[in-house]
């Protein structure tokens, strides 16, 4: 007699509360005579047994309470989710649970490929459908692999997406549970979704179909043919054909995107007869469940399988909802990431580079005020266009690293969930190249006292042509880089600031400490050796994609920052002209007003004045931090005086041995990192720029410290504990 696993035909109405929405809906479909792939349900009790035996509940509670949810960025939720996922991966099944599941799975599936799907409590109910918050795995083969994927589905109760919707889901370590569906994989030739009632038009139904499996349709990688049909008559009201280039098929394990056969590219995936059959199935599901349904289906030969049916629910989109919906789009499939990479490498980066060069080469001084106004407008539009491309493609491409991390952890089960970053470090990024140039200049200055003296005295460098060439090349390549707001200084000013940095760098003794190449090579080789036979190339492709994702994560920012700096340069010149003409302090004039006032001599721009901060009324108490918590983003311990950096310009005053404290490190700010004793950042995440560059230089780093740059003051003596993720602020002895 089994207690933890049931076949669909054993499930009855009262099981709903212990199996989850998807299990229950599939069993109900089977009872109502729908053709569904054979399968089993693993109830909530199995999850409870697993987390109780491995004490995961307490550990999850501890992780969830690390900081207030409202203070966490999505990246931090993703990190949190990764850590919890790793706990599941590294926890063993209780013997009795494993024995029972193993026996039932072997008897039902043998070595046939299966789909392992989530079935959360309350999921797919009439009021809410949290599609895509939890994980499903397609084309899994063998009992051991199925068991491992059951753990991953359980872990997805704590996915980053689920954590975003934690309030609606009522997520808590003590009470939340997850069921699992394991079904035979039906490798259909045509698949899709059907809405028995269109959300826009109640008399219509919607059907979308693709060749192959429907995972490509669901994650947006494969464009579907789209039909609007009359619910009553079944008459086709409109058909929007797709470009039909590719098809998602089962690979050796998992899925792969392959080119579609020539003839199929010209033929819609559904003919009239099959379209009618899909509509009828959706309408029958609506009758069976008593409300309009969103149905997933697949055709294997002439057999129409129902894969899932859930009520159509419309999410109410408030502003916060919109932000969360955007974050949901950041989880991309391997195939989708490959498409993004192609676009970034072939269009976006070369395009931004060319754009930046053109802008940098323009002589703005020659422009009249009206021409400068037009140029500011033009540059703002250019910046807007590239910013949109950056958000649409570059940010989602960072998921390549995350996907790699998940696969790495699944295969290698490392104790440290971020071990995968060691395989990626050492990639040649623009930021590291720039720092190497600075370090080369610093080495020259420290080994040649006469040169250092000339630099300090700001004298001509003609007697040191090699240094001068390096400095000129640096300024040429990176000198214009600064974020909008901190505008481009005149060339001699840029020289002076860079030389200041070089001299400061020359004072420090230690060189960059990298992860030893041999260790990295061994980790890479161990990882790739897990991909055997025909899967060998899959491992190599994934690693290659992750490296590109790691590299572009910094570089795309640097290219975009060049365009930002060029836009800021035109605005700064506009402000200078207005200040001279109108005799006003033009720093507080908005970009729009600068442009307006330049083209219209009669227009008097509004100068914004920052309101002064009122001192706090409470003089009875003084509050100061003693120890702040964040995430351990770079191992090690470092102590030194804090240097709070609020603007890019503050970087030039950075001294060797100081602890860099800031709100958020942008890639163009990382040039001082090699000198830092430690890094503290308000913005949280293990894969953010600050954390990545800290690991490259083996510098202790703590990220995700709320209000770090407000609570810590320049000059405070701080210790950064990059092992525990805490920052200790030394007591002022005078207090």
């Amino acid at each position: 007699m089994t207690t933890w696993i049931k076949h669909f035909r054993q499930v009855n109405t009262e099981d709903r509360s212990c199996l989850g929405g998807k299990c229950y809906a599939l069993a109900a479909l089977a009872r109502a005579g729908f053709l569904i792939p054979e399968g089993t349900c693993i109830g909530f009790d199995a999850y409870k047994r697993f987390v109780a035996e491995s004490k995961l509940s307490e550990r999850i509670h501890f992780e969830l309470g690390r900081k207030k949810f409202e203070d966490m960025r999505w990246e931090e939720l993703w990190d949190l989710s990764l850590r919890i996922r790793n706990m599941f991966i590294n926890s063993r099944f209780p013997t009795d649970l494993k024995a029972e599941l193993k026996e039932a799975l072997e008897a039902t599936f043998g070595d046939e490929p299966v789909v392992v799907r989530s079935s959360a409590a309350g999921e797919d109910s009439r009021d809410r459908s949290f599609a895509g918050l939890h994980e499903s795995y397609v084309n899994i083969r063998g009992t051991e692999s199925i068991l491992n994927h059951i753990k991953l589905v359980w872990a997805s109760l704590w996915s980053d997406r689920a954590l975003l919707y934690r309030q609606e889901l009522g997520l808590s370590a003590e009470n939340s549970v997850m069921g699992v569906v394991v079904q035979k994989l039906v490798a259909g030739q045509v698949s899709g979704v059907a809405f028995s009632q269109s959300p826009e038009s109640p008399d219509d139904a919607l059907i979308e179909a693709v060749y192959g499996l429907n995972q490509g349709l669901v994650d947006g990688t494969v464009e579907p043919d789209h039909w609007v049909v009359d619910r009553e008559s079944g008459a086709v009201l409109s058909h929007r054909p797709a470009s039909r280039m590719e098809v998602m098929m089962p690979g050796v394990e998992g899925l792969e995107l392959v080119s579609l056969d020539g003839a199929d590219t010209q033929r819609p995936p559904l003919d009239e007869k099959k379209l009618t059959a899909v509509l009828e199935m959706a309408m029958r599901a609506e009758t069976a469940f008593g409300s309009p349904q969103d149905v997933e289906w697949t055709y294997a030969g002439e057999n129409l399988y129902t894969l899932q049916s859930r009520p159509i629910t419309t999410l109410k989109h408030g502003r916060k909802e919109d932000e969360r919906a955007w974050y949901l789009t950041l989880t991309r499939s391997f195939e989708n990431l490959k498409i993004l990479r192609k676009r970034i490498e072939e269009d976006i980066i070369p395009g931004m580079d060319e754009e930046a060069r053109n802008l940098e080469g323009a002589n703005l001084d020659r422009l009249s005020e009206a021409e400068l106004s037009a140029e500011i407008y033009r540059r703002s539009k250019i910046l807007d266009r590239w910013t949109k491309a950056y958000w649409a493609d570059c940010i989602p491409f960072a998921h390549g690293m995350r996907l790699f991390g998940q696969v790495y952890n699944d295969m290698m089960r490392p104790k440290d969930p971020y071990e995968f970053m060691e395989l990626l470090s050492g990639e040649s990024t623009l930021g590291l190249e720039r720092n190497r140039m600075l370090e080369a200049m610093a080495d020259m200055a420290s080994s040649t006292p006469a040169l250092a003296r000339l630099l300090k005295e700001n004298k001509g460098l003609d007697v040191y042509p090699r240094f001068k060439a390096l400095l000129d090349a640096f300024i040429d390549k990176y000198g214009a880089i600064s974020r909008a707001g901190a505008e481009e200084p005149p060339p001699q000013e840029a020289h002076r600031k860079i030389i200041g940095l070089v001299l400061e760098m020359a004072r420090r003794s230690s060189a960059r400490k990298e992860v030893p190449v041999r260790d990295r090579e061994r980790l890479v080789s161990d990882f790739l050796s897990k991909f055997l036979g025909p899967r060998e190339q899959v491992g190599k492709d994934l690693f290659d994609l992750a490296r590109a994702s790691y590299r572009w994560r910094d570089d795309d920012n640097i290219y975009l920052a060049r365009i930002e700096a060029e836009t800021a340069r035109a605005v700064a010149l506009g402000r200078q002209r207005l200040a001279a003409r109108l005799g006003i302090e033009a720093g507080g004039i908005t970009v729009e007003d600068v442009s307006h006032a330049l083209r219209d001599p009669q227009y008097r721009p509004v100068v914004q004045v920052q309101p002064e901060e009122k001192p706090t009324a409470d003089r009875q108490f003084s509050l100061r931090p003693r120890q702040l918590t964040g995430l351990p983003a770079g191992p090690g311990i470092g102590t030194g005086p804090a240097k709070v950096v609020m603007h890019s310009d503050d970087l030039y005053g950075f001294k060797s041995g100081e602890v860099l404290v800031c709100d958020a490190i942008e890639p163009e700010m990382t040039l001082v990192v090699p000198m830092a004793a430690g890094i503290v950042e308000r913005r949280g995440g293990m894969l953010i720029h600050g954390a990545i560059v800290a690991r490259e230089y083996s510098i202790p780093c703590v990220t995700g410290v709320p209000n770090a740059a407000v609570l810590i003051h320049s000059g405070d003596k701080v210790t950064v504990d990059g092992y525990l993720g805490i920052v200790i602020i030394e007591e002022d002895q005078s207090q």
Partner: protein, 149 residues
């Protein structure tokens, strides 16, 4: 958390917790005991009572510098993450019960069952003048609230 939030957290914690751990230091070494306590609204003073024949009274007489721990633990695993622990640091001195009847009243409102003990001539009313609070939340997040005289 800002000052206002921290002060609200302290007031709430002091109202909810019945006992505090008093740590004294004297020639026989450090010594910790449980005491009932009450704090003033402005958080400047914490009061407790003790018999004059106790070790802690003797310790206070020789060294008035004390610390007092007030926390919200519930003896569950979740305490590691969820419990708040506040350490008050300052100097403690006996004050006259007759001259501070309002304080005695305040204390007895909180601990009415201790009336005989508190009003006994051998029982001393002690005032801790707080210099600073060290507030620990979320396991390792530590803030210091200094009281400015």
């Amino acid at each position: 958390m800002d000052k206002k939030e921290i002060k609200a957290l302290l007031s709430d914690l002091f109202a909810r917790q019945a006992l505090a751990v008093l740590a004294t230091q004297a020639s026989h070494g450090p010594y910790a005991t449980l005491v009932g306590f009450t704090a003033t609204q402005d958080l400047r003073h914490i009061f407790f009572v003790t018999s004059r024949s106790t070790r802690k009274y003797a310790a206070l007489e020789s060294n008035p510098e004390v610390s007092m721990l007030i926390d919200s633990r519930t003896n569950q695993v979740s305490d590691f993450r969820d419990a708040v622990a506040v350490t008050a640091l300052g100097k403690a001195h006996e004050i006259d019960k007759e001259e501070n009847k309002d304080i005695v009243g305040l204390y007895l409102t909180r601990y009415p069952h201790l009336e005989d003990f508190v009003l006994s001539p051998t029982c001393a009313l002690i005032r801790l003048e707080v210099v600073k609070y060290i507030v620990v939340t979320r396991f390792q997040h530590v803030m210091t609230l200094d009281l400015i005289s």
